[in-house]
């Protein structure tokens, strides 16, 4: 495939696209902006025709690997299909044209959807209250740990300076704890993927603010001692944080609230099938147990005795950790999740948990049968599982990265590689419930072919990919010499 030029390189003076041309602005409107703040020269934008713009970006989009085109088994990311119906619902003019500052009386429909979504999420997680305010998973984590801090501070318990994090927790957890001013203490994980309970007991004390964990963990297995872990942390006076990264595996089957968690964040862009935004709008609602209810971030949707809806804000909930953004979460993303929850219903959610787990276990067994090595062969997978290619790396010189790159030539998106860090040369594979058996079988066929190639033509595999717009990129150079600005 030929190299694509940048849109800037297509530019010719005087060309323009009618649909993208800026409207002329009257001088009297500009005069509101002080002269010294107005730019003196026009910005260096590409000058291209409408046809060129359409063709350029259509060609670029066709080069992407995408859930709409290929199997996308990115572990820990839950890349499931985003139903088109949810998109249609969120694009209804009544939702789309609603201004966030419109009076409550004009937003009753939207508020009722948000109020119901809060209740669905409470029900499915077993928590006592939910706020939809966080704009993404990372902000949900921040809100969760900020609530833990607010809880300890309200009790005058300021000696709690540490957050415990098992090795198999989600990668963002230590960053969140540090952002909230805590020291991180790591808790080791045993050979079976479960937390080392004795080490946890030794690490707990009056300095423990809480424990952050993911269950199922990033080892792709369900933590079997969760009740003992909750008891240990609670007895030390700490709170339990549930990272919702892997909620898909247990949706409708087990509830974090029933496991003893005090706070949870959910990634609606994972579990509730809203689009992953490539850094764009996400949604990371938080749920809490009874004792953290006073600290939930605002605004939230509330319901009055006369069944009308209103915004719950810091005037009625002064103990709240406050606002996380100018308004409340990403409205369009929350509406998509609302549609998804309503269309599945209780029975549908249970099937999500069951089929995501079934798909992962089917794929694991078939891959083991063609000679792949499971990292936890004695454990049943949750909705994702880990393979390790340490043997292939040692004996054939073919690494997990080589196999991942070769998968692209077979039109399969590579799974997550080299994560979690505690398993060498690993793949973290998550097929999700939305893939058919045929799609899973195609992935197995591709892997079987590559495993054979690794034995017979290892040097070829190390050079992959061959069929993509670019060959293997120098990601070390890209990281060391970051260059994101176009210049002539």
């Amino acid at each position: 495939m030929s190299e694509t030029k940048l849109i800037f390189q297509l530019s010719q003076p005087g060309r323009s696209a009618v649909s993208q041309a800026p409207k002329a602005v009257a001088e009297d409107k500009l005069s509101a902006i002080p002269a010294h703040l107005r730019r003196q020269q026009k910005p260096a934008l590409p000058e291209v025709s409408e046809m060129q713009v359409v063709r350029h970006y259509t060609n670029l989009s066709s080069k992407n690997f995408a859930i709409d085109k290929q199997f996308y088994p990115l572990g820990s990311c839950t890349m499931k299909y985003n139903p088109r119906g949810a998109n249609r619902a969120a694009m209804l003019p009544g939702f789309l044209n609603r201004h966030p500052l419109a009076p409550e009386t004009h937003s009753q429909g939207f508020l009722s959807c948000m109020f119901e979504l809060q209740n669905f999420l409470k029900e499915v997680t077993g928590m006592k209250g939910v706020s939809l305010a966080p704009m993404a998973g990372a902000q949900g984590e921040f809100a969760g740990v900020a609530m833990i801090r607010a809880y300890h501070e309200a009790r005058g318990d300021e000696a709690r300076t540490e957050i415990l994090i098992p090795e198999a927790a989600h990668g963002t957890n230590p960053a969140t704890a540090v952002m909230c001013g805590y020291k991180v203490r790591e808790v080791p994980v045993g050979k079976d993927g479960d937390v080392d309970l004795e080490a946890l007991k030794a690490a707990c004390g009056p300095q423990t603010a809480g424990l952050m964990m993911t269950n199922p963990s990033t080892c792709g297995v369900f933590e079997r001692q969760i009740e003992a872990i909750a008891k240990t942390v609670h007895e030390a006076g700490g709170l339990l944080y549930y990272d919702g990264a892997n909620l898909n595996a247990i949706l409708g089957k087990v509830r974090p609230g029933d496991m003893g968690f005090d706070v949870i964040h959910m990634n609606l862009h994972k579990t509730f099938a809203t689009p992953h935004g490539g850094g764009g709008p996400g949604a990371g609602p938080v749920g809490v147990s009874e004792r953290l209810l006073p600290y939930l971030p605002t605004p939230m949707a509330g319901q009055r005795d006369d069944d009308s809806y209103y915004w719950v804000d810091t005037d009625t909930l002064p103990t709240s950790i406050g606002h996380l953004s100018a308004f409340m979460g990403n409205a369009g993303v929350l509406l998509r999740a609302y549609y998804y929850a309503r269309s599945l219903g209780r029975d549908g959610m249970i099937r999500v948990g069951e089929f995501s787990t079934l798909a992962a276990n089917y794929l694991l067994k078939r891959l083991e049968a063609i000679g792949c090595t499971a990292a936890y062969p004695d454990r049943r997978a949750s909705h994702e599982f880990i393979l390790t290619f340490a043997k292939e790396a040692k004996e054939l010189g073919v690494t997990a990265m080589d196999i991942a790159k070769r998968l692209l030539d077979y039109n399969q998106h590579a799974p997550t590689t080299y994560f979690p860090l505690l398993v060498p040369e690993c793949f973290l594979i998550e097929p999700t419930e939305t893939e058919s058996k045929e799609a899973l079988d195609e992935f197995v066929d591709a892997m079987a072919a590559i495993m054979e190639e690794a034995r017979t033509e290892p040097d070829m595999v190390k050079e992959a990919p061959f069929t993509q717009p670019v060959r293997r990129l120098d990601d070390v150079k890209a990281a060391r010499e970051l260059d994101l600005t176009w210049s002539e």
């Binding site: 590689t417 080299y418 060498p424 990601d475 070390v476 990281a479 060391r480």
Partner: protein
């Protein structure tokens, strides 16, 4: 098999320590840099910072992963390898020489006894 100099001591978290009259130079082992892959960033402690053995004292980052560096002994940071800011690849190219990370004025000589010998470290990485 990666090089493991016999005269150094090792932490199970893959740092090496070289004692010269109470000043301990710290780096990561050849095995550790090999497992990390090409480093793209090294975060070092500040000179004057006081650390206890086992404290986080820096981060090495490759395109695959970021990994904490732990102080193998207690004491005060007296020097850092500033060349790594522009050339993190020194750690890959010469982990025991030009790729050293920082030096600690050791406060407890006995901390060294808690570290592994070359033979013990060799045994550890073989069992991993």
């Amino acid at each position: 098999m990666s090089e493991i100099p016999a005269e150094l001591r090792y932490a199970s978290s893959h740092e090496w320590a070289k004692n010269e009259d109470g000043t301990v130079t710290v780096g990561i082992t050849a095995h550790a840099q090999d497992a990390m892959g090409d480093l793209v960033y090294v975060e070092l402690p500040e000179v004057g910072q006081v650390v206890a053995a086992g404290d986080e004292a820096g981060v090495v980052e490759s395109v695959k992963a970021a990994s904490d560096i732990y102080a193998p002994v207690s004491g005060e940071i007296v020097e850092i390898n500033e060349a790594l800011e522009d050339e993190p690849e020194l750690v890959n190219n010469a982990p025991y020489e030009g790729g050293w990370l920082f030096k600690i004025a050791m406060s407890e000589e006995t901390d060294l006894d808690n570290l592994l010998t070359a033979d013990q470290y060799q045994a550890q990485i073989e069992s991993e």
